[in-house]
Symmetry: C2
Subunit: 766 residues, 2 copies
């Protein structure tokens, strides 16, 4: 029960939402949960990770491949299509345990036949270029059907068309579509083998919009017909030589292997994934499904196969947000991978190494040194974020926003991600191979950005935008300044270590041409960067200079001022801009990230101050309130925020438009946030190079929470109840691992189980 | 001919414009050029200099006194009022030589009588509290009229009502109105004596809106009736004890003196004013009238009688712009007074000394040290500028603007004004009595605002707004940075001089508590403040960091994007904000102020670059383009800009609304700009403590330009033709004065005339 997402009945208003909700994918590509008969109007998409294209001066965005899944049936001259036919029953289902999308629809034809159509597909976790789709159809009366199946070349594009010169062909019965992207001429090829059905007349028809086979099926009452499509997708970025040949070979080989064998290999990998990543909640089935579904969404977009792509803000659910990688990845998705699949975390962070030059270009463009990472990063690391990201609903004019220019915390977030990866894995090689350079370049960027006030004897960061994007261009945003200090301090510490351990690299990085900061400068700013302290009376940290001078109104009052539902609340004239209402967790995120630096009373004071002022206009926000509420021992304050985060892609209740900009799709940062809220929040998990800490705080309804973690190459099973915590080492050998549970130190040896009673006693057993 | 402004006929659409155009005043009060029968609907106003009031949280603004000029006539039961009666002829006139407003209207009554009504009034230059108004009426038939004359207490207020508890009374025939302001309880009193006419029945009627006498006049055909009103205005700020007693005494004394005697005293002062300030243009009557009219406007608002008020941006023409003093005064009005009436210039600059504490409060409010002068300064020097100065026409919402927060150049402008005053007058006393403290505090403010970049070894000024207010919150605005460096350098120079000459004051000013910059710091920033240099290829100075990255469109293209005629072009979402179109002279103003620092080719390149990009959305802008065009030897480029500036209050063609905010009224900065364009521009006058420079550049149409200047206590007559320059010292004794005419040095002794031929020869005669 807790592994199936299911919708009965067909509601045309939910097509877009279901496309995201029923997503499948494997990190190489994402396949929207649309139905077999759908076309681009229903937002069909096979979105390719890391393949981008720009048409003219329009937004650069990911490329959707021609849709090899297109399948239509006709009876009595009419199409059997949920959009137009008489539908007696319709079910759409996603098996998140195995990554299988299925649908079953019962149609009534004009001649009174009842036809049941089933389709089941998976994007292979085993063979990353492969989608397999099995169909069956049966009728309660003898009937003749036409099956039309092939490749739909009319691709859904937001700022396209991205594919040009598409050529369709049939190679010994294998249909192919081969096109090139407009900007870089990347070849995109789809090939598909059809196996079965028992064919009558058969013809192949190619048009400018695709290539299909038309097959006459004579259906006898009660006797189903079945067929399978093996769809193979390659691009010239795959470095396989001829992409067309590779695709043809791939689909042919897949057919040779056969459906069952492919499914088995696929299921095995899913099984491994869940073995590593599942989180069990006892006592709350709804939360259990929502959390597993969140994890599922992360698993289908994880770049397990490439270190040159990361995870975009809308995963692989289409072209929304330009398929760009934001801070979302490091701050909200990375923890899940870090603790459960460190190899994926490594790929995600290597992406930042590969895009370092793009970050250097951005810094130079603005007159700074070092690396200023793109707010919206694509393949090259150059910033895809435009200066006019939103349209003013009142005038229809593009609105100048400062996402691109001023969110300097992105470089801190990247550095933080690398450091977290290093701390938890001890992967020194990673640092030496580029991680250190990234951190050092981010520190240099911060130095060049910061300005110094000699009489105050401190550096400040002026004119930035923090996580709360409703307040652009502020001075000394607390989140940014703490993150910057953190980055600078880790750079100093890291370089001091490198000086000992890798003097050549240290010397290379700290070479100091005129105008470039060296060790002395970074050390100084790390000591003297101003960070806003909690107020001595209220304990509140002011979000930025003069935030407290803004109008202090309720969220309700703010909403009453909204004139048009899609109007942007930030920007130059937004209704939130001049008030204390914030878009998302900002200071409270700081409380989470630096939880050891702030006393519980300070965390509580800030939570209580900012919570009523937060509009949660970003899907990144609720999980942070959940995390900090758990941390201060208020899990039932956290719970609704956890639920909101974990169900975002199930309910589809998130914001769909800002101005006239469509921002729907999946929400991997919220998916990651759900995992964080459960494991880091309720589980109270925290780890560094020295020890793993657990300070659990389960919500009332939960009787147990169980999950697995990987720390420095070793796996542990953790099971938390209201009474105790059970830690089991899954390692066969190796060193002991230090744990600290509710403040008490426990050492766990390979193979050992430690039990810690939450009233204070530790016992270790086998 | 060149002294009379005259309009024939009555056009109700021009009532508001004429109210400004026909203004009279004497620096203590301004009297709008409205007609005798008008009331607040027609924007009657007697605006009191330096008297401000705030109602609740509405804008603080100047107080208008009850209108003692209110006079109405009735014939055959109907009012003789240009708004409603049958008007055969109507003339309104302003004699700018003598500051006399008059009107003559010929009415046709219902019974067919032709009644001629004349009114002539002046706001006495001799007795600052006095307005005198003489009337005559005659008819071509015997007729009985009712005269209703008194004090109109229904005052025009924008953000009022400012007067409360108005009490009306008659004291032995003198009518009085006495009220209090809401905020500070300032008493405002008006008293008026009526002399004549030959009265029939007479009654006095007081209501909540005023007090009037109703008098029956029996008019015999051809026999005029005459009467005079002596209106006296006092407030409790006048420090005369009982304001009511003072007003009563004033009007009674005036009546005793009589109309002719008062007029004569008034005219004598006007004669003196013109003797000091007139500028003669030969060959261009239109320009002559426009320039004299501009000078007239300055003379009627000059604070000759008080060092505690300065000149607001709309003079004394009502409550527009909150009656606040902007940078306009120092930068656009001060030069006129400095060269022609240094005593008024002294008062204007003393106002800044008196408001220094307000400037300190503003600096402290924003977390800075020193003195941050108010963008909109009223009596206390606290900033009257609101954070929401404009209404968004598309949403009706208040729009956040940064006039108040970010125009730090205001402190530089104030310091510059003081230094200019000191340079030209040699008035050391002024420096010792507060001028030095103001400059020093402005320098300290700049130090606290500036931030330092250690590797660049320079200070920068981030997040400011320059004169071009369409681009708010920019970094390193060239104008601001040059002005700041100028301020810092003059502070250093001045303090070095004080160290020798006034060591006690020097020691007091440079006391240095922790966190406050002293001599070392100011000296360092004066050396290391970054100023943007002309581009080595184009010679253009970039207006601020990244200005060149803005969209480069034509003014025409910009205007085609305007959706609503009153929409604000700047602010967060304005159409100009993201383009290179600027509101007003910014870099070009720099070229004027620092004309000796830039080669002619640089000035020309910047003029040519910025001129097509300037929208002239401020009345301060055209005169600057005139000044720099003259300076680079292109007087015919300058001429249209001079004309536009000099005629602004004659044509009434200026912007009347921004958003829904009325910004009409007079334009003293443009009036001052017209004088500057003529004398400093075409005349090429420039002076400092060492010498007076003249680099004339007359427009084609002008055959001669003649004016008088005062330098260090001595007056000179200057007469410039196309062929030569004649300088006559009007001093009886004293030192020689050094002149430099077209680069050649000439020394002029008291009483001497020097003639300089513009083809190069100097000869001195008696």
């Amino acid at each position: 029960m807790s592994w199936i997402v299911r919708e009965e009945g067909f509601d045309p208003k939910r097509i877009t939402n279901h496309g995201s909700k029923f997503m499948t994918g494997n990190g190489y590509m994402g396949c929207r949960g649309t139905l077999d008969e759908f076309s681009k109007e229903q937002l069909t998409a096979v979105t390719l990770a890391g393949v981008y294209d720009q048409v003219g001066t329009k937004w650069r965005e990911p490329v959707n491949a021609p849709n090899g899944l297109r399948t239509r049936l006709y009876a009595d001259g009419a199409e059997l299509n949920v959009l137009s036919a008489s539908v007696e029953k319709h079910v759409q289902e996603l098996d998140i345990a195995r990554g299988i999308h299925s649908r079953e629809t019962v149609y009534l034809t004009g001649s009174g036949a009842r036809i049941t159509f089933r389709s089941e597909r998976f994007v292979s976790m085993d063979q990353l270029h492969l989608i397999v789709n099995r169909f069956s159809v049966h009728s309660d009366k003898d009937i003749s059907l036409t099956l039309e199946t092939g490749i739909d070349g009319a691709v859904w594009d937001i700022n396209g068309p991205h594919l040009k010169e598409t050529q369709y062909a049939s190679h010994e019965g294998i249909l192919t579509a081969a096109a090139s992207t407009q900007e870089l001429g990347i070849r995109v090829v789809v090939a598909e083998c059809l196996e079965g059905p028992q064919a009558g007349d058969q013809e192949i028809v190619a048009s400018e919009n695709g290539i299909v086979q038309r097959i006459q099926l004579s259906l006898q009452a009660g006797a189903p017909q079945e067929w399978v499509k093996y769809v193979s997708v390659y691009t010239s970025l795959d470095e396989v030589g001829d992409a067309l040949a590779a695709a043809l070979f791939g689909s042919r080989q897949a057919q040779a292997a056969g459906y069952e064998s492919l499914l088995k290999a696929h299921e095995e990998i899913w099984e491994q994934h869940w073995a590593l990543s599942d989180v069990v909640i006892e006592g709350d089935d709804e939360a259990q499904l929502a959390l597993r579904y969140s994890i599922y969404q992360l698993l289908i977009i994880a770049p397990a196969g490439s270190e040159k792509v990361s995870i975009p803000a809308r995963g692989l659910s289409g072209q929304v947000y330009k398929g760009a990688v934001f801070w979302d990845t490091e701050m909200f998705m990375l923890p899940f991978f870090l603790y459960t699949q460190p190899q994926v975390a490594r790929n995600i962070m290597l992406y930042r190494k590969h895009t370092l030059d793009g970050a250097r270009r951005k810094a130079a463009e603005y007159g700074f040194g070092g690396a200023y990472y793109a707010w919206e990063s694509q393949d090259s690391g150059d910033d895809a974020c435009t200066l006019f990201n939103i349209t003013d609903v009142f005038t229809g004019r593009p609105m100048r926003t400062y996402f691109r220019d001023k969110q300097i915390h992105i470089s801190c977030d990247v550095a933080h991600g690398i450091w977290e990866y290093y701390k938890l894995t001890g992967d020194t090689r990673f640092l030496l191979d580029g991680g250190a350079e990234v951190i050092w370049e981010c520190a240099r960027f911060l130095y060049s950005y910061a300005c110094y006030y000699p009489l105050k004897e401190r550096y400040e960061l002026l004119d930035v935008t923090g996580p709360d994007e409703y307040h652009e261009r502020v001075h000394n945003n607390a989140f940014t300044n703490y993150m910057a200090r953190h980055t600078l301090r880790m750079a100093v510490r890291m370089m001091d270590e490198l000086a000992e351990q890798a003097p050549a690299l240290h010397a290379e990085l700290t070479r100091q041409p005129k105008g470039v900061p060296g060790m002395n400068e970074i050390r100084e700013i790390a000591e003297r960067l101003y960070v806003p302290e909690p107020d001595e009376h209220t304990a509140v940290i002011e979000q930025f200079d003069r935030y407290h001078q803004l109008e202090d109104i309720s969220l309700q009052e703010l909403k009453s001022r909204i004139l048009q539902s899609n109007e942007y609340l930030g920007g130059g004239n937004g209704v939130a801009t001049t008030t204390q209402i914030i878009k998302q967790a900002d200071v409270v995120l700081l409380m989470h990230l630096f939880k050891d630096e702030f006393a519980p009373a300070i965390k509580k004071a800030n939570w209580e101050f900012y919570e009523p002022r937060t509009e949660h206009g970003s899907s990144l926000s609720p999980c942070v309130y959940a995390l900090v509420a758990s941390d201060i021992g208020m899990p039932d304050w956290a719970y609704p925020y956890f639920k909101r985060t974990a169900t975002i892609d199930l309910t589809g209740d998130s914001k769909q438009y800002v101005g006239d900009l469509y921002i729907g799709g999946t929400h991997p940062a919220a998916n990651g946030g759900a995992w964080m809220a459960a494991v880091l929040g309720f589980g109270g998990l925290q780890a560094d190079e020295k020890e793993v800490r657990l300070n659990p705080s389960l919500p009332t309804a939960w009787s147990a929470l169980a999950f697995k973690i990987h720390v420095r190459g070793h796996a542990f099973d953790i099971r938390i109840t209201k009474e105790d915590v059970l830690v089991t080492s899954l390692a066969a050998d190796g060193p002991e691992q230090a744990f600290r549970i509710q403040g008490s130190a426990v050492s766990v040896s390979p193979g050992q189980t430690a039990m810690f009673s939450l009233n204070g006693r530790v016992s270790a057993g086998s």
